[in-house]
């Protein structure tokens, strides 16, 4: 997550103090992502050094100093908002590695392994959904963050469901499916 750009976005509304930025960042993300005040000031110093923001008193540090976004800061923010994050290469996902590994370990039933993770994810989703039930109606930003987390977890559950079905079919027709090592090699090549 880019704290740097999130702070620029908050400063695009007008000049602000460090403590105020921290408070607005946390409340703006439904307090799901806490921010250390030290991290706020370090980030502000770097933004100032790069000419993306300026302060009332450049020599002074601490809570009395107010920051404002510069023209190049606004340009940087605008470019960041419309640049998609890099999602070209698959992340080295621990859960995917666990399921692939379960296939190779003698005596381990991969479907049981999948179910353990599926249940854990659904239990987490139940907790996130409860939060939405209680608070979403009156806090739009919080609801957006919770939705994002629910969709992320949901995508993993769907992958587990698909893997479960694919492995079941593969067991019924062992020669019709590509083997896992070939699949793994292809992913490595693409990287």
């Amino acid at each position: 997550m880019s704290v740097r750009h999130a702070l620029l976005a908050l400063l695009s509304e007008g000049p602000k103090y460090g403590l105020q930025l921290r408070h607005e960042f946390e409340s703006g993300t439904g307090e799901i992502w806490p921010l250390n005040i030290g991290q706020v000031y370090t980030t502000l110093q770097r933004l100032e050094r790069d000419g993306l923001i300026e302060s009332d008193e450049p020599e002074r540090e601490g809570p009395q100093n107010r920051f404002r976004i510069t023209e190049s800061g606004s340009a940087e923010l605008s470019a960041w908002l419309s640049t998609p994050p890099d999602m070209t290469s698959p992340p080295r996902d621990e859960l995917v590695i666990k399921v692939l590994s379960a296939l190779r370990v003698p005596g381990v039933n991969v479907h049981d392994v999948i179910q353990i993770h599926r249940r854990y994810l659904v239990e987490l989703m139940q907790q996130w959904t409860r939060l939405k039930e209680d608070e979403a109606d009156f806090d739009l930003q919080f609801a957006l963050v919770v939705d994002a987390e629910l969709f992320r977890l949901d995508a993993i559950v769907r992958w587990l469901d698909t893997a479960d079905g694919r492995l079941k079919r593969a067991a019924l027709e062992p020669h019709a499916q590509p083997t896992m090592p070939r699949l793994a090699r292809r992913l490595v090549v693409r990287r």
Binding site: E31, L124, M125, Q126, W128, T129, R130, L150, D161
Partner: protein, 239 residues
């Protein structure tokens, strides 16, 4: 006491070599006021479980109890009355009658149960109002959007004094916003004391439930434990 209880319920179709076991030894109990989701892939037996729980189909073995009464010993008429008065069904494709308006669809089960037409209509209107559909009451199903049709179906399922709500993929082909609205309505019914079972393959829908039961090849393989308070998520993210 559980309002709905399935005890060692099994269901098979066909015989001998062609016999298919749709459900095997299912134990499930649902209290009033609670929402249970049954999650599983296509062909796992979810819909069969629901039709058996709703007395639309008989199990091959095992027992179903609704409000403590066994369906097995109930007469045909008693079961029909139970379906009209106590159980509300919500289907994936809504199953609204095309020739009836929204309010007529909702009040029909009451009229079939002998409630006077005018009184049934008043109750139907009140159920539609609760779901924000008062201004659509005189529209026919083909004049309603998918989300509105599903809300009418839910109004029909909860109208009167229903205590058991059975929903089969209730968000059907709806988008996630409408799907969420459907689950909020079912949850609202539960808060008024209804026992509800939702079968779905969708984890986001299932996550609205108090308990999620996982079905695989006709068997319950796992279920969630009651989650800790959601505040623990926020505490954890602050570590």
């Amino acid at each position: 006491m559980s309002f709905l209880e399935l005890r060692r319920v099994s269901k098979s179709y066909g015989e001998g070599a062609t016999e298919v076991h749709a459900l095997a030894d299912i134990d499930l109990s649902v209290d009033r006021g609670s929402l249970v989701a049954v999650m599983g892939p296509s062909g796992s037996g979810k819909s069969t479980l629901l039709t058996i729980a709703g007395s639309l189909e008989k199990p091959t073995s095992g027992e179903v109890l609704i409000d403590g009464a066994s369906l097995e010993t109930m007469s045909h008429n008693d079961k029909a009355r139970l379906r009209r008065r106590t159980i509300g069904y919500v289907f994936q494709d809504f199953n609204l009658l095309a020739g009836l308006t929204a309010v007529e669809n909702v009040s029909l089960p009451l009229e079939l149960d002998g409630v006077q037409a005018r009184k049934a209509r008043v109750e139907g209107m009140s159920a539609l109002e609760e779901l924000g559909l008062a201004d659509r009451a005189t529209h026919y199903p083909d004049e309603l959007s998918g989300g509105e049709r599903q809300r009418v179906a839910i109004a029909r399922a909860v109208v009167g004094e229903r205590h058991l709500l059975l929903a089969d993929e209730p968000s059907g082909a709806l988008d996630s916003t409408n799907g969420e609205a459907v689950m909020r309505m079912i949850l609202a019914a539960c808060k008024q004391g209804v026992a509800a079972v939702v079968v779905t393959h969708d984890a986001q829908l299932a996550s609205w439930a108090d308990r999620v039961v996982f079905l695989r090849d006709g068997r319950v393989v796992d279920q969630t434990v009651p989650p800790p308070s959601p505040e623990s998520l926020l505490e954890r993210s602050k570590l």
